[in-house]
């Protein structure tokens, strides 16, 4: 039985941030990512001149779908059953895990190959199956690497991007019993992973994959990959299990195509992924390969609650990762700091909703409201607004420290009384200006420790504007 990484928690976020900023080589790698991923995305979007119109239409259809999710989910279920699948519903993570384990055990499964699926990370399916003594291998290269390293993903699209070539070489040399060899660079490592994993694909009993869209009108599941590993999982083993959440439903194939055009451009800057596949069910007459038994496991895990809440727009997320790539906080501190399966702007919203605001309370504050995430979100989710709403909830639930809340309230109270405010600032500001007149700034300033921790505080010029303007006006009146 292999030991898995500890269950993560976002409660340690601020401490994690401090550590993350000290790891200079990782910081450098992230800075590179923060520079290049946006360029790739911009190039792809600029080449597709209909991008913004497409975004609008896709948003409208998705919101309509969520408004009628019961109808579309029922339609999908009906079509999927007609296509010969078994369809299971799971209320929460442990139910999903039990269902999947149950299917595996009913086939006396020993070996499982797995494609990339954030939902299965969310439920910790790998851990659950391994505890039941099944051999489970992640086949997406990034997921394989972190599985071997016993780590968690640092990015929802590129889970191992935090690891250096040297670290991965060390890992492969250690984990693959293949004798003396050099493993010069990524091409050699990929080739080695290819041959190691090939054996698993060929001998697995069960293949587990995720889904990028569940198409209601025909019961197809769309799978988007660049490696083709998901397709190997979906075509070679005798049993296939598709694990996903119920908000993945789209009404028609055309809606899946529209989303596809946005998804890949936003995620990697490609117009389309190398492999876009549509799987309908088990072997038909005429099939010479493919699973003989196929299952859908549809997870709720708070999605229906989110649907009923003010955060329902979060369900429009297609997991492209663009918001991560453009977020200065994510790029600054990396995915692991978030202590959650989901990170960056989308993770800072989802994690409190899936776990608790109390546990994840640091996340909504990890935001400068720069708005870059919303600008690039293909699903038009108002991420900064949702983050602010979570900060509002934090404030209401008194999770924000008392002195902050009181400070903000007091400041606002004073600002709502301009005459008093002008009087008080008219007294204090000129004093501050006089104190800072030579140097022009303060190395430390009462009540501004957060600021002065990292920067000097510029001194005021002199009297406040309102003081000066008032004086000017009085002088003008007097001279008439």
């Amino acid at each position: 039985m292999s030991s898995m990484p500890e269950e993560q928690s976002s409660a340690a976020f601020l401490g994690n941030v401090r550590e993350a900023l000290l790891e200079t080589d990782k910081v450098q790698r992230r800075d590179m990512l923060g520079l290049f991923m946006p360029l790739l995305r911009d190039a792809a979007v600029n080449q597709f001149d209909q991008f913004n119109n497409l975004r609008k239409q896709v948003k409208d259809v998705k919101q309509h779908t969520l408004d009628n999710l019961h109808h579309y989910l029922s339609q999908f279920e009906k079509e999927a059953l007609n296509n010969g699948n078994q369809v299971h519903f799971a209320r929460d993570s442990s139910e999903m895990n039990s269902i999947v384990l149950g299917i595996c055990q009913s086939h006396h499964t020993q070996r499982v190959v797995k494609g990339k699926s954030m939902v299965t990370e969310e439920t910790r399916l790998l851990h659950h199956l391994q505890r039941a003594d099944l051999s489970v291998v992640e086949t997406d290269l990034g997921e394989y690497i972190i599985q071997q390293a016993k780590e968690t993903p640092s990015h929802i699209v590129g889970p191992a991007l935090h690891k250096s070539v040297d670290e991965i070489r060390e890992l492969f040399l250690q984990k693959h019993d293949l004798g003396e060899r050099e493993l010069k660079g990524p091409p050699e490592m990929v080739a080695e992973a290819r041959s190691v994993l090939r054996e698993h694909f060929l001998n697995a009993d069960v293949g587990i994959i995720g889904s990028n869209a569940l198409i209601a009108e025909n019961g197809y599941s769309m799978l988007v990959t660049n490696e083709g590993n998901g397709d190997l999982c979906a075509n070679l083993p005798k049993v296939m299990i598709i694990c996903t959440t119920l908000d993945r439903v789209v009404p028609r194939t055309s809606d899946a195509m529209a989303a596809l055009r946005l998804l890949v451009r936003s995620a990697t800057g490609q117009p389309i992924s190398n492999y876009t596949s549509f799987y309908s069910g088990p072997r038909r007459e005429g099939d010479v390969d493919g699973p003989t038994e196929t299952h859908f496991v549809l997870l709720d895990n708070k999605r229906s609650d989110i649907l009923a809440s003010d955060y329902r727009e979060m369900l429009q997320c297609i997991r492209c990762g663009a918001c991560l790539n453009h977020c200065p906080i994510y790029i600054g501190v990396g995915g692991h700091a978030y202590g959650s399966v989901y990170m960056g702007p989308m993770g800072s919203i989802l994690t409190p909703l899936l776990h608790s605001l109390e546990e994840a309370q640091a996340l909504p504050d990890a935001c400068t409201a720069c708005g870059r995430c919303e600008e690039v979100c293909p699903s038009s989710i108002p991420l900064p607004d949702l983050l602010r709403d979570l900060r509002h909830e934090k404030s209401r639930e008194k999770l924000t420290p008392r002195r902050w809340r009181l400070g903000i309230k007091t400041h606002a109270w004073l600002l709502a009384r301009p005459r008093l405010y002008h009087k008080l600032s008219g007294l204090g500001i000129p004093v501050l200006a006089w104190l800072g007149r030579k140097k022009g700034s303060f190395k430390s300033l009462m009540l501004a420790n957060g600021w002065t921790d990292q920067r000097d505080f510029p001194a005021p010029q002199g009297k406040t504007f309102m003081q000066q303007y008032d004086a000017q006006r009085k002088a003008d009146d007097a001279s008439r």
Binding site: P328, T368, E375, H392, G440, F457
Partner: protein, 270 residues
């Protein structure tokens, strides 16, 4: 992202002509307290294009600190205060992208019913300074006061950039009015790390972001770093001082008005 406020603002931009109009100046709390010369420079620019400028006294702050901290309840009275004080003007001009964005984009989100309507009406006539000068007043004539600006690089503050689309306007004005071509810094779209309360909540990360922005500005070898938002400018200037780096940080209003007489942000009299 098209908002209702944007439609009304765009209508306003197409039907305006300025001389003689009553413009109410929204000073912003940071300009009021830390750099009043920016407000005086703003008034000078507005009067130059023929506006009659007034300064409503019942103003203090647009409410961003409480709003962004999630205290909507404390922000609502501030929003109502701004609306009441300014809604009678023909135009409201704001030397800050974030404050202008707060008024035009967020007040309508914060308020309901009749107040929301009043917020939308106010939004339609509220403009950040460079947008007003470039698009409403359509300032084109070069100044002939003999002021030569040294080399300038420019910081695009996030709210102004993304909520109000401010990017070309300050550059066009600097070119036309002051014959100054902005030396672009790299990764202009990345946040400077101020973020209101963020800089206090995550100081190390904020410090790194500010350093990155400062380094990008220094790499242009421009003498002046200009921008339209005091929060960002004070942030970058303060970081420069702390790290012992030399760059003159000024508000774009000062450059357009040709007023380099005051020490730059964070600079003392010595």
């Amino acid at each position: 992202m098209q908002r209702e406020a944007d439609t009304r603002v765009n209508e306003r931009k197409n039907t305006s002509s300025v001389p003689g109009f009553n413009v109410a100046l929204y000073v912003t709390c940071l300009v009021d307290l830390f750099r009043p010369s920016v407000a005086f420079d703003t008034i000078a620019l507005l009067e130059r294009v023929g506006c009659k400028v007034s300064v409503p006294t019942q103003q203090s702050c647009c409410g961003q600190p409480s709003y962004n901290s999630g205290d909507y309840e404390s922000t609502i009275p501030l929003a109502q205060q701004v609306i009441k004080a300014f809604e009678s003007a023909d135009y409201v001009v704001v030397p800050s992208g974030s404050c202008a964005g707060m008024i035009t984009h967020h007040y309508p989100k914060l308020l309901e019913g009749a107040w929301r309507e009043r917020a939308l009406t106010l939004a339609a006539k509220t403009f950040e300074l460079t947008t007003f000068l470039a698009e409403i007043a359509q300032m084109q004539e070069p100044f002939e006061d003999g002021v030569q600006l040294p080399s300038v690089t420019y910081h695009d503050s996030c709210a102004g950039l993304r909520e109000l689309g401010i990017r070309a306007q300050p550059r066009d004005l600097l070119k036309k009015l002051r014959n100054t071509e902005v030396k672009e810094l790299s990764q202009t779209e990345v946040c400077c790390g101020f973020g209101g309360t963020f800089c206090a909540k995550m100081p190390e990360l904020s410090g790194k972001m500010t350093s990155d922005k400062l380094d990008a500005a220094l790499a242009t070898e421009a003498q002046i770093l200009a921008g339209g938002d005091m929060g960002c400018l004070m942030n970058i200037a303060g970081r420069a001082k702390r790290l012992g780096k030399t760059i003159e940080v000024r508000h774009v209003a000062e450059l357009l008005a040709g007023n380099l007489s005051k020490p730059a942000i964070g600079e003392g009299k010595s």
